[in-house]
């Protein structure tokens, strides 16, 4: 348990940034990682090869779920509150990742920001290594395309 806490503390900031990059919002990322940490401490998983990979996957799932919930709640808030509260949302702009699918963006950040291997990504997200490789390859191709377009436009 102590080593799990130490591992979580060590990777916490990195995972929050990774999730923020993947979902585009720092506040959502912070909430999701907090919840994932709480879940881990409440019921520690039996085996975690890498705490950062586990936290990243769980937090991503929670962030996306809360994103859907936020969309559903928006119309309700609009009618229930005439004066909106202060917004502290932070939007993370990663233009090169804009046109990637959710899965591609998650894998790119896992591979190139968290430095997970293909095998670790496959294990973390429950896909095959071949799928990981293909997803990353397509993502890089698309990113290069975006970079080229922007280069020509500038």
């Amino acid at each position: 348990m102590d080593s799990l806490v130490a591992d979580i503390n060590e990777c916490y900031g990195r995972v929050v940034r990774a999730v923020a990059g993947a979902v585009g919002r720092l506040d959502a990322a912070e909430d999701a990682v907090h919840e994932a940490v709480e879940a881990a401490l409440r019921a520690p998983p039996r085996t975690i090869a890498r705490a950062d990979a586990w936290l990243y996957r769980v937090a991503l799932r929670r962030a996306r779920r809360s994103s859907w919930r936020r969309r559903l709640e928006l119309p309700l808030r609009a009618v229930s509150s005439s004066t909106p509260g202060p917004s502290s949302d932070r939007v993370i702009a990663l233009q090169l990742l804009d046109r990637l699918t959710d899965r591609q963006r998650s894998f790119v950040i896992a591979r190139y920001y968290l430095d997970l291997s293909y095998e670790e990504i496959a294990d973390t997200f429950g896909v095959s290594v071949g799928t990981t490789s293909a997803t990353l390859s397509q993502a890089l191709q698309r990113m290069r395309g975006v970079a080229e377009e922007r280069k020509e436009a500038s």
């Binding site: 503390n9 916490y12 900031g13 929050v16 940034r17 990774a18 923020a20 990059g21 720092l26 506040d27 912070e30 909430d31 907090h34 919840e35 940490v37 709480e38 809360s66 509150s81 004066t83 909106p84 509260g85 202060p86 502290s88 932070r90 993370i92 702009a93 990663l94 233009q95 090169l96 790119v108 950040i109 190139y112 920001y113 890089l140 990113m143 290069r144 970079a147 080229e148 922007r150 280069k151 500038s154």
Partner: protein, 227 residues
């Protein structure tokens, strides 16, 4: 960040550099509690629970002030004598010194998604603690006209604006933003201690004696990291 766009993306290392240059600069706070969400189901339960508490309290003859919580006497560090040296108190990584007779309470109140009250200090027991509404806005302080309250919170309203280095000590209350509100003055000071952002809010009733205000300045000036 839009102006920092780097079109070079030939190798995998370029991708690494791109992501690190964008993500490593994001300031991340320490681990705190997640935002409290109020779903419709839990909102209904909360209303039911609040109604039950209200009915019970009314039945027992308690006079409840809405959205106000007094500084409790339990879990409190307090000095008993009316005269004497300041007392050092360590709470939640922060050390502060209070004059004799002051009441210091360790708190764990989530005020909004970015701030958590960790310490409240006042010259006497029973001073009202300010609260925030469900939308995160701060409610008016309901302390008496001669009350005073030092309210230390973990987190700030605008983490991105804070410097990454620790704030110079001692803190000066006068460096904070002062507002004269209905019946009281409020000072608001954001600072960084041991790399963690804090917010200090001091409330002073309109007729709070000058000696109390000076004491509050001394308390603020004594804030430093716990050993």
């Amino acid at each position: 960040m839009k102006g920092n766009f780097d079109p070079v993306m030939r190798t995998e290392d370029d991708v690494r550099r791109y992501l690190r240059s964008r993500l490593d600069v994001i300031p991340v706070r320490g681990r705190t509690a997640p935002r409290r969400r109020i779903a419709l189901g839990s909102l209904a339960l909360q209303i039911l629970a609040a109604t039950a508490v209200l009915v019970a309290a009314t039945t027992l003859g308690f006079a409840l002030r809405p959205r106000t919580e007094p500084l409790p006497s339990s879990g409190v560090a307090s000095s008993a004598t009316a005269a004497g040296p300041m007392s050092d108190i360590d709470l939640r990584g922060v050390r502060l010194s209070v004059p004799p007779g002051w009441v210091v309470s360790e708190r764990d109140d989530v005020l909004n998604r970015r701030m958590r009250r960790i310490v409240a200090a006042a010259p006497r027991q029973g001073v009202a603690l300010p609260t925030v509404g469900p939308d995160g806005t701060e409610q008016p302080w309901s302390g008496a006209a001669d009350d005073l309250l030092v309210d230390l919170r973990e987190g700030t309203g605008a983490t991105l604006r804070l410097p990454l280095t620790d704030s110079p000590l001692p803190l000066r209350l006068g460096a904070g933003k002062r507002e004269s509100l209905a019946g009281y003055d409020r000072w608001h000071l954001e600072f960084v201690l041991d790399g963690r952002p804090y917010t200090l809010v001091v409330y002073a009733g309109a007729t709070a004696p000058a000696t109390l205000r000076s004491a509050a300045e001394a308390v603020v000036g004594s804030i430093r990291p716990a050993r």
